[in-house]
Every structure is written in structure tokens, then in C-alpha cells.
Amino acid sequence: MSAIAIRVESISKQYKIGVRKYRHDTLRDQLMDGLRSLFRHNGRPQRAGDTIWALKDVSFEVKQGEVIGIIGANGAGKSTLLKILSRITEPTSGRAEIYGRVGSLLEVGTGFDRELTGRENIYLNGAILGMTKREIDRKFDEIVAFSGVEKFIETPIKRYSSGMYVRLAFAVAAHLEPEILIVDEVLAVGDAAFQKKCLGKMQEVAGRGRTVLFVSHNLGAVQNLCERVLVLSHGQMEYLGNTYQGINAYLGTTTVSGNGYVDLSSHPARWPGCLPLLTAVRLLDASGTPKGRFLTGETMRIELTFDPVIPIDHPKFGIGVEDCLGARVFSLTTDLSPSVLPPLRDPCQIICHIQELPLTPGRYTLSLSAGTFENGLMDALGHAVAFDVELGDFFGTGKTEANLGRVLVKSLWERTER
């Protein structure tokens, strides 16, 4: 039996939303409030509406050397959990025991100072992450080599490109040598090549018997790296176990499949900063019946309810189809289609026709985006709606088989004489 690295016992974290909204941001407000609450027995808010539970009663254990992925929709409590385990914030109740030195990476480049040079920032950032000066001295060359910014190491990082900045920052973090590594969504930055390098480094860390807790929306990376996943939903633990099943459970919780209709007006999967222009999505079959279950080869219509808010002359829409690991299978965009949409003035339905669904059986999700030629992207939602595909007669031959891959393509065969 391997030893425990982390034991979490019914950890809960409550936030006072009043504080977050600057209700008590000045002394005067607080004095007034203080007078009112003088006779309350303690400082805890009395009304349930003033607080939210970011985490509620979460318990789990992580064994030493295990790599665990934490997945969940925005606001599910992933970051809060990591913050508690990294000791940045305290739980409201419950407790956790940690057996080993923790290195946490909730952001790359924490404490980087734009005025300082690359060299100086390596030392500063390293010290902030908990390395000693001797440790940094020893690893300095390795860090610089990993970052690939050797030539600019004496340049203030404010002159760095954002890519260089991220590479340097990750290089420092990657050379932390904790027994337990806690990583939040840091791999979402940098170009594809660098992401691959980071993933490689993480795998290396995991391979050396380190315990890793890894939060990511990149389900492919989670599938790749993690032995088990923890699925959080609304602050509660939804699932803990096998990665593949966990990912499916997660996709099941974030998206309402079954009837093929999702109200998007306040959907948690909306990207930050987007306008809620896409207000609903509906999946229909050839006869116009909404449904969440399609057959391979069937006609599928994706109906987006769109409220342009301002008149849009040149609208653009995009739909990405992802498999159960979150990997994009194919994309459908107005840009690449011969169809031309008219200018949009009022709320309307935009319909995308897929003549013969080329997907093999499984669970899929759709990511949606809308924008204009002038303004670019205006609204986007990741994994907004899920649907299931079942075995159908794609080839029109009445024959089919399992394990044909992700996508089916019709083909003709012949033999030519020469």
C-alpha cells in the first residue's frame, strides 16, 4: 500500500458575496454595519443569501505518486480547492493533511516585475515560489535553457514578447522540486509547441513519483496525464475515480443532453468577456424534431437562437464538434461555407445543416461562437451542448462496425487495368 500524500476531510469554503461586491469597502459603511451587528453573537453573516459555498463537504485522498486531474465547469470550486491546499486561503470548516513539500503553480510568473531583467526575475520568482537562493543558483542555467530566452536574459522583461514572458515564467516553475505539485490551468498559455514541452515536463515530474494535482479544461491533457479525476460541480464532489468515466460524468453534468435543447442566456461555459448574444441552442433531426440522440449518417440541424443587440452587417458563426475528451473532431464555420448570411437586425434563428453526421458512436459536445467581420469574436461558449451518437447506417449498405475511428468517410473503390 502506498502512503497518502494528501488527505482532505470534508473541506468547505464559504464566501461572503457582500464583501466581494465592495459592500463594506469604506469605513463608514462598516461603522454603520458594525453598529447594527453589535448584538449579534459573532461576525458570521446571518442570512443565507449573503454567502455562497464555493466548496461544500469535499473529502478525498491522494496517494503518493498519483496524478489526479480536477475538472469541473467555471465556478465549480476547482480554484478554491487548489487555493486551500496551497494554503493561500483557509477553509471555513473541515481539514486537510498534507504529507510533503507542496509547490503550487496557480499562475505562471507570479511576482514577476516588469522592470527587472530576466535573470533578476528568475531569482525573485524562484524565491516567491519557495526556492532557496542556492537552489536557484544551482538550477539557473537549466532554467534559462528550458525557457529558450538566453539572448534576452539581461533585458528587462517588459521588452519581452508575451510568449517569451510565459516561457521564462514556466521555466522557473517547472524547476520547482516539490513532493506534491499543484497546478492550475497554466498550460492554457503559450504556443502549441511550448504547451507540449510543458506537458512533457509535467509527465516527467509525475514519472519521478511526485504527486500531482492538476486542474485543466484541456480534457485531452487530463486524459493523457491523470490516473484518476475528481469532478467538481457547484462546490461538491460529483465523481472521483477512473479518468475516462470521470470525463464523461463531467460532460454529462455541464451539458443537458437528452432533449438537445440548452438555454444559453446565462450559461457557465460562456467565455469571460463575451456578450450573451447566443441565447439558446437546439439540435433537430431532418423532420424538425428536437433530440439529443442521433444516428451516424443522420441529418442534423443545429439551431442557434441569436440576438444581435446591435445591427450586424456581416455575421460570422462557428461550431466546433468535440469528442468526449474535449478534442476537436471538426469545425463548421460560415467563413468556410459557401452560404452567405444576410445582415442581422433582430433576434432570429441561425440554422446549420449537417447532411450526414459522420461521427462514430459516443458522446460529443458543441462549442459555439458568434461574431462579425468588423468586431471579431463577440460570443463564445465551450462545450455548450452535448449529444450522443449511436450506430447508424452511415454507408447506406446496412453494414457497420465498431472501432472505425472517430469520423466516417464514404469511399468508393475500383480496380483499374494498366
Partner: protein, 294 residues
């Protein structure tokens, strides 16, 4: 509350770990005790104090034409203005010493103190990006910000030596206890900073109050005037201001002026230590919520 267990087993109720298991390195749970200061953790992170001071010193005069010369120019210019206004115009006496030296010897500890106080009062807000992303003992932040201006102080001693030679003033053996006066100024700034910075996280009003507090404090300290100008019956109360003792101490050690009353200074130092301990408890008490509200 987060506790590091070095050798002792965890002092918390809860299921006992299985026999084969070692004790947890860290236990995370809501804070209960009021007096768990966890100063050992601060000691463990002492290198971070060094790096934060180093950062602040390095960054300060980047992209300035005169660079570190500002460390010397600022007190010199203040001294010149004080001399013109308070010595020539207002005819404020300086206990027989040349007013420029008299003022400069006070500006050294005073500038240090006002910098240290305003920096530590703002420190938690200024380092919010660290507090929300990385763990380290939060005490490191106000601590580092009271050390930073000490670097300036050391540099600005140089022109004082020039002034002393120019005016023919020689230091006394009291110079040897100068570090103690500086320590008192540091502890005073830190203990007030420990109160201000947690409040600042919650109420940004502190950002407006602090400069005003520093200004008031300067008028309550013998920076521009000698203590001999304070009416006799106020003198005792006045000397409980630790900065009065510090400034008088600097003038005594450097310029050979009459020494401050060390008995009174000891009392005010004791008060400062009490304020420091209370500040530590207060700071630790507020610490847990920093990352949530900053």
C-alpha cells in the same frame, strides 16, 4: 489555521493517522487559536524577505535619469527648504547647532520612519498579486517593507559626514548605539504597519489616512524644532513618542547634543514592544482572510 509540525505530532483532534504513516507536514484547517504566531515559518522564509527588499531597492530608481542620487538629493533638498523657512524666516532655534546639520540629523531617522510606515501600511495592497497566488507567511510583506528604506538611510549618511566636516561638528561615542535607535524606529514603524496593513486590505480609507498620520507625527516629533521648545509640563508626555527619543538620540550620537532621557525612552520602547505584540496577534488574526478580500 495552518500549522507546520516539525517534530511534534499534530495537535488537532481528528482521526489518528494509520500507524505506518508519518505525521503530516502541514495541517490545514480553520484557525482557532488567537496566539499562534508561527514565527518559525517567517524565519524559514527569511530569504524571501531579502529578495523582496532587493526587488524594491532595484526597481525604485529604474528609468530615472538621476537614479540612486535621489536617495541623497531628497533629504538634502528638504534640509535646504527647512533651513530657509524655519531657520531664516521663522527663526526657530537649534540648540546652538548649525541648523542644516541639526535638521539633517533628524531627517535621517524621520525619512526612514515615514517611508517604512507608509510602505508597510500599503504593503498588503501593493502585493495583492502575490497574496492571492502564492503561499508564504504574510508577515514577510510588512517586514520586508520596513527594511527597504533602511538601505536609503545608509546611503544618506554619506552627505551627513560631509556636512559635519563642513560645520566642524564631531560625533560622540554614542554613535555605537545608533543601531539601537534605528531598531526602535523600525519596530515602531512595523508595529503600526501591522495594524494599518490588514485594515487597509478591507478598507481603502487607510490609504488616505496614512499620509495624514505621518504628517501629524512629524509635527509631534522634534524634526524641525528642538525639544527645548516644547513647554516644560508637556515634555514628559512628549517624550513618550518613540520617534522623539530616536531623533534626539541621533542628534546626541552624531552632533554631541544633550542625550535623551533614557528612562523615558525605555518606557516608550516597552510600549512599542507591546504594540508590536498586539499587532502581530491582530495581523495573524486577519491573515486568513487576506486572499479572499484583497
Amino acid at each position: 489555521m495552518i500549522r507546520k509540525t516539525a517534530l511534534a505530532p499534530p495537535l488537532v483532534a481528528g482521526p489518528t493517522p494509520q500507524s505506518k504513516m508519518t505525521n503530516p507536514l502541514v495541517v490545514i484547517e480553520p484557525r482557532k487559536g488567537l496566539f499562534e504566531l508561527d514565527l518559525a515559518a517567517v524565519w524559514q522564509y527569511r530569504e524571501l524577505v531579502y529578495f523582496l527588499v532587493w526587488r524594491d531597492v532595484k526597481v525604485r530608481y529604474k528609468q530615472t535619469a538621476l537614479g540612486a542620487a535621489w536617495v541623497i538629493l531628497q533629504p538634502l533638498m528638504t534640509m535646504a527648504i527647512f533651513t530657509v523657512i524655519f531657520s531664516y524666516f521663522a527663526k526657530i532655534p537649534s540648540d546652538g547647532l548649525p541648523y542644516p546639520v541639526f535638521a539633517y540629523a533628524a531627517l535621517l531617522p524621520w525619512n526612514y520612519f515615514s517611508q517604512a510606515l507608509s510602505r508597510s501600511g500599503n504593503s498588503m495592497i501593493g502585493n495583492a498579486h502575490l497574496i492571492t497566488k502564492v503561499y508564504f507567511p504574510r508577515l514577510i510583506i510588512p517586514l520586508a517593507s520596513t527594511f527597504t528604506p533602511a538601505v536609503d538611510l545608509l546611503v544618506s549618511v554619506v552627505p551627513l559626514l560631509g556636512l559635519m566636516i563642513w560645520y566642524g561638528v564631531s560625533p560622540t561615542r554614542g554613535v555605537l548605539v545608533l543601531p539601537l535607535f534605528l531598531l526602535l524606529a523600525l519596530v515602531t514603524a512595523l508595529s503600526v504597519g501591522l495594524w494599518l496593513s490588514p485594515i487597509h486590505v478591507r478598507y481603502h480609507d487607510v490609504g488616505y489616512v496614512t499620509p495624514f498620520l505621518i504628517q501629524l507625527w512629524m509635527y509631534a516629533s522634534p524634526v524641525i524644532y528642538p525639544v527645548s521648545l516644547v513647554p516644560e509640563h508637556w515634555r514628559l508626555l512628549y517624550s513618550f513618542n518613540p520617534m522623539a527619543g530616536v531623533i534626539e538620540g541621533f542628534r546626541w550620537a552624531l552632533l554631541g547634543k544633550q542625550s535623551p532621557d533614557f528612562a523615558v525612552m525605555a518606557v516608550s520602547a516597552a510600549l512599542v514592544v507591546a504594540l508590536l505584540l498586539a499587532g502581530l496577534v491582530f495581523f495573524k488574526h486577519m491573515e486568513s482572510s487576506f486572499a479572499d478580500i484583497v
